[in-house]
Point group: C2
Chain length 267, copies 2
């Protein structure tokens, strides 16, 4: 799915919601543990229930890796189950030297067939270049994250009085285009989105932190939306763990629908 | 293996060599492709051949992930095959919010039973804390990396005229102790090791970049060694791909032995 197709899907579904499948075997409803493939079964039911309300799914690789090789199989099976109707993101936060990134690109773009992968910028351009070689795939670079200790380094002031995260977004934006790059910008500092929009007017922003982490959707839209929408707002725990009972999928659908209802007023 | 055991192993084996198992199915000797489990077979023979010359093995997760779930199985099998005689490192460069890092810690410290994992510091303290909870395990935080584009962000000057990488090492060092943290410091800037030693006199440094990436072992020792040795010098491609023929394991042993011979003069 390329940028134009993503925008068309957003307009058609009137949603820029990304559902985060942070599926933890210790948190899924216990009755699922009797099924043959519990975590996949959880994902399958969440996907079936939320498909109409979202445009993207994001799988946090850590949750699958915690299950070993079997988790990796479930991640792969889930990405293939989602299919081509939605934009798929491997939330992997990888970042390494070139020959290593080539391998990560093989893993996520060729094997898993994801549309996008999140990347950590600390090692510089080498961390991103391997991924940009793939047409119609996206590198989503960490800019400003939503966690409390984002401030430890991301807020550091450089000699031109610019904060590090802003310098990183500005620099990384020159490595690709808005057709193959996006940025992660946490919702917990929504007012900073205005400044980020000034330096990257055309890039899509993947915005975590709405819901469990306390960010406001309205603020994100106010400061971050552009003419092409330009936002994918992620919600994980608030949707997938809305209920820990038999009705977890219908409750997940309700939570996703609520966000989609709110989103449609701006599209 | 805790820090004191690592030091004792280094003194006994007269080596501070870490062998990097960046095992790429497209580069291993072709005759191995006829074996039942080619990449594991490659690793097994490299490990058997180099055991006596090194104190650590580092598995670069990307190379295994490029093979999907099967690669994850091979990584796990390899870590267990190495066993307790060597310090084991998952070169994973992970980094995320706390609840996600808990999952990575489960994957690498509980399932794979590695001694250490490499971590990217961009998201701050949250990226490291989950891992520090495990006794006798190490978080190896990226400080100064050996790749050309390390300069993109790591060399940025802060307002106190300090480079970013140095500020990161100094800050991260306060999160744990030299008993549960190490830093990655590339050999390609060996003279900078002197300054890094001044701020972290007691931490072990994991030093990639000797060999294929052009760093000098002598320089690394000159500027980086402390009274407890304090160095793990990694070599990957120069050892594991010393030959692409039947003799790949004996040639790997020769290359590892050469480095060990050089190292023993300083121990």
């Amino acid at each position: 799915m390329n940028k134009q197709q993503l925008i068309a899907t957003i307009r058609q579904r009137k949603s820029f919601l990304c559902v985060g499948l942070d599926s933890d075997i210790q948190k899924i409803p216990s009755f699922l543990l009797q099924t043959e493939d519990p975590v996949f079964e959880f994902n399958r039911r969440i996907i079936d229930a939320t498909r109409d309300y979202c445009v993207a799914y994001k799988l946090n690789t850590a949750f699958y890796e915690s299950l070993g090789a079997d988790g990796w199989r479930i991640m792969d099976k889930t990405f293939h189950y989602i299919g081509k109707s939605h934009f798929t993101i491997a939330d992997a936060k990888r970042g390494d030297i070139g020959n290593t990134c080539d391998m990560y690109a093989r893993a996520f773009f060729e094997q898993m067939q994801c549309n996008a992968i999140t990347l950590s910028p600390y090692m510089g351009r080498d961390s991103v270049e391997s991924f940009l070689k793939y047409p119609e795939k996206f590198s989503i670079v960490l800019g400003l994250t939503s966690n409390p200790s984002a401030k430890d380094f991301q807020y550091l002031l450089l000699q031109d009085d610019k904060m590090l995260y802003k310098h990183i977004i500005q620099t990384a934006a020159t490595w690709g285009t808005s057709d193959n790059m996006m940025f992660v910008v946490g919702a917990t500092r929504a007012e900073w989105l205005r400044e980020i929009r000034a330096i990257t007017p055309n890039h899509f922003l993947l915005v975590p932190g709405v819901g469990a982490q306390g960010g406001s959707l309205e603020e994100v839209v106010k400061y971050g939306m552009n003419e092409e929408v330009g936002l994918l707002v992620n919600s994980s725990r608030a949707i997938i763990y809305a209920s820990s009972d038999n009705d977890f999928d219908t409750r997940a659908a309700e939570e996703a629908a609520k966000l989609q209802q709110e989103m449609m007023q701006w599209i």
